[in-house]
């Protein structure tokens, strides 16, 4: 089954040298397509996003199950990041942005006036393309969210949260003896795991990742992918990626975007082996993009 999933990207021109290296060094995580999907965590209905006059997303409707990795794929500029940002309302921070439609999380509209985006973002963590640790110590980076949201009342509790988060992010063993040195002094891959630790320190329910491995080398990428697969047990994860192989390896659901529209969505295995749409097939086999 696995080999069937990999076949499409391997035959495609997107699989460059580094990609091939990743494939061979990647641990056997793979997509457990047969694993049961959780209940629907986030449901987007007819979501459109406008940057000023320009419309970047057109009536996107997508259901994202819990305890699952959902991959958003599509050519550059098709609106993947834009869609990702609607889910934690980060578009609110860009002046002139307008979002229409409904996005429900656990059945509640997150664009409702009652919802405070600040609290929403504590529930929906985000990891960016370029690792962006704050210019503070490793400890302070992880403690940032818990401090803001008042999750720890004593130093001991905070220590515990920091340690637990770093462990879950698979970074503890590497930084345990230098928690108070600057986070910016870590390697790129370590920095990315640090910001993942920072995101999970506030116990979110959803983690959004925007091309989390595109600035990393194959080995660091493999580590993050392994981590994503572990995190799936607890969180609902949405990941934007340009690597077909990565989407195939880590995700169970895939959504293909093109020109601001959602073209096709389904089980990853389904999309990669037997897409319904011609455009999807063309994209995953590298015929355009």
């Amino acid at each position: 089954m696995k080999s069937r999933i990999f076949r499409a990207p391997e035959g495609s021109s997107t699989g460059g040298a580094s990609e091939a290296a990743t494939l061979s060094t990647a641990p056997a995580v793979g997509a457990h397509a047969s694993a049961p999907l959780g209940p629907i965590k986030i449901a987007a209905r007819d979501v459109s996003v406008f940057y000023g006059e320009k419309q970047a997303l057109f009536d996107v409707s997508l259901e994202i199950p819990d305890k699952t990795v959902t991959a958003l794929i599509g050519p550059s500029g098709c609106g993947k990041s834009t869609f990702l940002r609607t889910m934690n309302r980060m578009n609110d921070t860009i002046p002139g942005t307008r979002v229409t439609g409904r996005i429900e999380m656990d059945g509640e509209d997150i664009n409702d006036r009652k919802i405070d985006p600040v609290l929403l973002r504590a529930q929906v963590g985000m990891v960016f393309q370029k690792p962006n640790p704050f210019p503070k110590s490793i400890y302070e980076n992880v403690a940032y969210g818990p401090k803001i949201h008042g999750l720890a009342s004593t130093k001991g509790e905070m220590d515990e949260i920091v340690q637990k988060s770093l462990k879950r992010a698979g970074l503890w063993d590497e930084v345990a003896d230098r928690l108070h040195s600057p986070g910016t002094g870590l390697s790129g891959g370590q920095q990315q795991r640090l910001v993942i630790a920072r995101a999970i320190a506030v116990e979110p329910e959803v983690i959004l990742m925007d091309e989390p491995c595109s600035a990393l080398d194959p080995i660091a990428t493999a580590k993050i992918e392994e981590l994503i697969d572990e995190l799936r047990e607890r969180y609902c994860i949405v990941i934007v990626t340009h690597s077909m192989a990565q989407a195939a390896r880590v995700s169970q659901r895939t959504a293909f975007f093109h020109m601001g529209k959602l073209v096709e969505t389904g089980d990853t295995e389904e999309i990669f082996t037997n897409p319904r749409e011609r455009r999807t097939l063309d994209y995953i086999t590298g015929r355009f993009g």
Binding site: N88, M90, T93, P95, V118, L119, L120, R121, A122, G125, M126, F128, K130, N132, P133, F134, P135, K136, Y144, G145, I148, H149, V195, R198, A199, V202
Partner: protein
């Protein structure tokens, strides 16, 4: 006269360019030339222009001393035996008479009758020197031209040579700036050394009494001269501290507002307005301080004083009711207002240099705007902001006009912002304006103060630049 030569030289240079170009075209016929004809032309031009220019500069530098030598050498005995300063005064008048103007002095002395003849001689000497310089320049141009025209050949690397000339000119320009600075430092140091040979450096640095008046005649009273600069440093520090207390928070917060809160439109209006404020001449701030802020504050404090008199705070009331227009607070506050645009503009740049990804990271954690600013932006920008503040401090220390107009002249050793104080810069101005005797410690004290000020601001600037620089590198 000099204009004719200059015009001639320019004509020569243009001619050299045209001729060099044409020559290059002719000589390279058939062969492939290394450089383009225009570059040969420029090369020829530089060899004609540069020697002539050098000659003109040399002539104007040395002509004064040559002229003096010649005047002295040919002077009649009656003039030659005069004391030097009388002799130079006489020559100065001779030059005026020679140029057809009135003599400045009245010459009762017997040698006055020599004035017309000496005037004619001065005129002749000046004309000779002028012509000499001009002709020498022309000759240099011609020689340079002859030299260069023999060298124009297809394989001449004219392009590289022209580049070399350009490098040279640019280097010379930057050297002027550096050398001038070095010269200023040198003269500061020399004159300061003279001052410190009259007044011990320990007295200057640690003395607490500043009263630079020195008796010129023995019978003058009350002016023995005291050169303890501590009150001046204290005054400078006091005013700087007040100014920074105003400028640092307001400047910083307005920078935060501009870079994080204001919309595009507000920013587009406020930022240029702030930068215009930075261009207001300090003398304008000075009279704003002296004529508006000073009286207003005095009325305010006098009013409070009057209310307190007779109550439990009677002493304070009496003190406040006697406060004057001129006080450190006025100068400091207005100087702070002057520094606001400086601080906010620099801090705004620094805040903008903090990568957007840090803001996004913080917002994505569920931080509010002010939490993001307080916990991420300001710590990240802190070193840079500290650098900006240090630059502002060194401007505050060097500022003169506002203090002269609003803080008074009395050198008092106090940290009370309601007293009149004086600063290092203000004392330099008062020491060097008006009649002065160049060798008295009173005048030389200005150089001692200047040197101290220079060293302090230099150190501040170096530290500030280092910090700002290190901060820039952090995100590259």
């Amino acid at each position: 006269m000099i204009w004719i030569f200059l015009l001639l030289l320019i004509a020569f240079a243009v001619l050299a360019y045209v001729a060099g170009r044409a020559l290059a075209v002719r000589r390279s016929r058939g062969a492939k030339s290394h450089s383009r004809p225009g570059q040969h032309g420029l090369y020829a031009l530089s060899w004609v222009g540069a020697p002539a220019l050098a000659m003109l500069i040399a002539a104007s530098v040395f002509s004064t001393s040559i002229e003096q030598q010649m005047m002295r050498a040919g002077a009649p005995d009656s003039v030659a035996q005069l004391e030097p300063f009388r002799r130079e005064a006489f020559f100065a008048d001779a030059r005026l008479v020679g140029a057809g103007q009135e003599a400045r002095q009245i010459w009762p002395a017997p040698y006055a009758e020599d004035l017309p003849a000496e005037g004619r001689r001065a005129h002749r000497i000046a004309a000779t020197l002028n012509w000499g310089g001009g002709v020498a320049a022309l000759i240099a141009a011609v020689l340079g031209g002859l030299f260069v025209f023999t060298r124009i050949r297809p394989d001449l690397r004219a392009r590289n040579k022209v580049e070399g000339w350009i490098t040279g000119v640019l280097f010379a320009c930057s050297a002027v700036a550096v050398l001038t600075t070095l010269g200023i430092i040198f003269s500061l140091v020399i004159d300061s050394l003279r001052f410190f040979s009259m007044v011990p450096i320990t007295e200057f640095l640690f003395g607490t009494k500043w009263s630079p008046q020195i008796a010129i005649r023995a019978d003058q009273v009350g002016s023995s001269g005291a050169f303890g600069a501590v009150p001046l440093f204290a005054g400078t520090f006091l005013i700087m501290a007040i100014a920074m207390a105003v400028a640092a928070p307001i400047g910083l917060f307005s920078a935060v507002y501009l870079s994080e809160y204001s919309g595009k439109k507000t920013r587009a209006m406020v930022k240029p307005a702030l930068e215009v404020l930075a261009g207001v001449p300090t003398v304008v701030y000075g009279f704003f301080a002296a004529l508006t802020v000073g009286p207003a504050l005095r009325v305010f404090f006098n009013g409070i004083g009057d209310m307190l008199i007779g109550g439990p705070l009677n002493g304070l009331g009496i003190y406040l009711s006697l406060v004057q227009n001129q006080m450190a607070l006025v100068a400091g506050a207005v100087m702070g207002i002057m520094l606001i645009p400086f601080v906010s503009s620099l801090s705004d740049d620094i805040l903008n240099a903090v990568p957007q990804s840090l803001r996004d990271g913080s917002y994505a954690m569920g931080a509010t705007k002010s939490e993001t600013i307080k916990k991420v932006l300001l710590p990240a920008a802190l070193p840079g902001v500290a650098g900006a503040l240090l630059l502002a401090v060194s401007r505050a220390i060097g500022e003169t006009m506002i203090v002269t107009m609003a803080a008074g002249l009395a050198a008092k050793l106090t940290l009370n912002p309601l007293e009149t104080v004086t600063t290092v810069t203000v004392q330099i101005v008062t020491l060097l304006t008006g009649d002065q005797e160049f060798n008295s410690p009173k005048t030389l004290a200005a150089f001692g103060l200047g040197l101290t000020l220079f060293v302090v601001t230099l150190l501040l600037n170096i530290v500030a630049m280092r910090i700002v620089q290190a901060y820039r590198e952090q995100y590259d």
